[in-house]
Symmetry: C2
Subunit: 305 residues, 2 copies
Amino acid sequence: MNFQQLRIIRETLRCQFNLTEVASRLYTSQSGVSKHIKDLEDELGLALFERKGKRLLGLTAPGRELAKIVERMLLDAQSIKNLAEQYSQQDQGTLTVATTHTQARYMLPAVVAQFRLRYPKVKLHLHQGSPQEIAQMLSSGEADIGIATEALGDVEGLITYPFHRWHHAVVIPAGHALEKQVTKLAKAGKQLALKDIAAYPIITYHEGFTGRAVLEKTFQAAGLTPEIVLSALDADVIKSYVELGLGIGIVASLAFNPERDLGLRLLDCTHLFPANLTRIAVREGQLQRQFADDFIALCTSSCKD
Amino acid sequence: MNFQQLRIIRETLRCQFNLTEVASRLYTSQSGVSKHIKDLEDELGLALFERKGKRLLGLTAPGRELAKIVERMLLDAQSIKNLAEQYSQQDQGTLTVATTHTQARYMLPAVVAQFRLRYPKVKLHLHQGSPQEIAQMLSSGEADIGIATEALGDVEGLITYPFHRWHHAVVIPAGHALEKQVTKLAKAGKQLALKDIAAYPIITYHEGFTGRAVLEKTFQAAGLTPEIVLSALDADVIKSYVELGLGIGIVASLAFNPERDLGLRLLDCTHLFPANLTRIAVREGQLQRQFADDFIALCTSSCKD
DNA sequence: GATGCTTACGATACCCGTAAAGATA
DNA sequence: TATCTTTACGGGTATCGTAAGCATC
C-alpha cells in the first residue's frame, strides 16, 4: 500500500470510475493507474470495485469502507504538507477560496488587497459555487477556505467563524413609484413596510444563495407571498433586470454602488429584514498553512461578533 | 513521503529515539532508518527531531504536530488491513488482548475457550498490565481489545461495552474469628458490617486495580480507615498472604474457588460493597477484524447490562 | 571502548511510461 | 469504430542492506 494507490482510489471516485481521466488528472499513465488498483486489490485480497467485464462501475461494500478511510488519510497527508509550509514560514503556495458571487464581488476585494500586500507570492484561487458546492469542496479538501451566508453552519466536519453581517435592501429603477412613496413616508416619519414591497414583482437570489432563506421566512412570517418573477445567482444580474423594469430587486445592500449604478436607487430595509451573518469555514482538524490562518484572521478581524 | 517513513517516525518515539532499536523492531537496517528520517525532513523542509550532534534527543515543535497526524494515519492504515481481513473472512491472525490479572485469570478462560473453538487458527496474545497501561496500549494500537474494571471508561478515543458485574468479598483463613462471628450473626438474622471488617488488617489490590477505588470510597463513606497492610496485583498473591495469617483479604469473589482454596473461607459481602462493572474497550473509529468483533460479542453476550 | 548515527555504494525491487492487445459501448 | 482497460516490456529510480567512517557517552 502506498500513497499513490490511495490518491488513485480517491480520484477514481471523483472521476466516476473513468481511469483514463484519473490518469490525466494525476499526471500519470492509464496503465499505471490500472496496475495500482489491481496491486492494491491483490494486496488486500478483495475486490474494491464492481466491474462489468473491464469497465469499472462502482464500489463494492468493502470498497466503500476503504474509500472513507482513504479520504481521511489523504486529508491527514495534506495536513502534514501544510504543517511543513506552516513552520518553514513559506510565503508562497496556493490558497483556494470557495465562495459565492456576492462575497467574491463585494466583500473579498478589500480582504484580498490586504492579503496580497502581506503575501505577494501566494496564488489565490477564487472558486465560485453554491453554498452546497462550497461545503462539498471543503469537505473533500479541494478548497482550503469557504465563505458563504447559507449552509456552512450545520455541516459536519467544518468549523466556522463569523465574517460579517449585512442586510438586504431593495433596488428600484430611478423614478419608480416606490421612490416617491418612501419620500412621502419619510416626511410623515414613517418607514417602508413589507407589504409595500410585496406589491411589486420581485427579482432576487436563487434559492440557497445569499440569505434567500431569510427572505422567504420574513415574508412568510408576515403572511405575504411575494411574486418572485426572476431569480439569479448574483446581484449584477439582478440589477440588470431591475434596470430593464422587470420588477424591483432585493439584494445585499453592499452590492449597490451609487456611483456606478446610476439608473438605480437603493431603499434601506434594515428594519424589515433580519441581519444575515456570512461565515467563513475550514475543515475541522485540518492544519492550515500560515497564510491561510492569516487570511481568515483578516476576514474575522473586521467582524464584531 | 511514504508509509515506511511514517512507521519509522512512530517507532522512533516508542523507542525513545534510539534508531538502532527502531531498525531492529521494524526488521530493517539502521542506515535505512536514518536515511528515511533525513529524507522526510528534507522533503518537508524542517527539522522534526532535536539533535545533539548525531544523537536524537526529542521532537521539535513541528515534530510533535507531525507525530499526532502520523499516529492517526497509521491507525487508519491498520484499519484498512483489518478491513481486508474482515471481508476476506480470514479466520487467522493475531488478536492482542490487554487486560488485568483478575480478568485474565478468572473471567477470560471461559471466553477464550469458546473463542478457540470458533477461531482455532487465531493466535491470542494476552497482555497483562495496569488499567492505565491497557488504555495506553489501546490508544497506540498495540492492543486490539482492552478489559479492565478501572480507568477505561473515561479515556478519550475509546469506546467501551459492559462485560460483567462482580462484587468484592472477604477471604479469611479457616477458623478465623470472623467465621464464627458471621455464623452467630446469621443465627440472629444479621449480616456482617463494614466495621467488623475494618477491625482487622487488610490485604487487597494495588491502587488503580480491580475496583480498589470502589473499596476506598465505601470505607471512606462509612467513616472508616482500614489498615491495609499489604497490597498486591492479583488475588492469588493476596490469598497466599491471607493463608499466612497476615490479615484478611478483600478480593473479587470470583477469584475464590472453594475446591482449591481449601484453607480459606469466603464471606459474602454483596450488601457491603457496590457492584463493580468490568468493561471491554476498543479504539474508537478503528475497524476491527471479524474475530475481534466476535471476541467482544462473546464477552458482552453474557452481560445483562 | 562501546554504543549509536551517518555516509558510501552496489544489488534489488518497484514504479512509471510506451506500446500492443483485448473488451465494451 | 472509438473509447477504455489490461497486459507486456524496458528504462529509470528509490529502497535496502552491508560496510566503513565518525560522533557521543
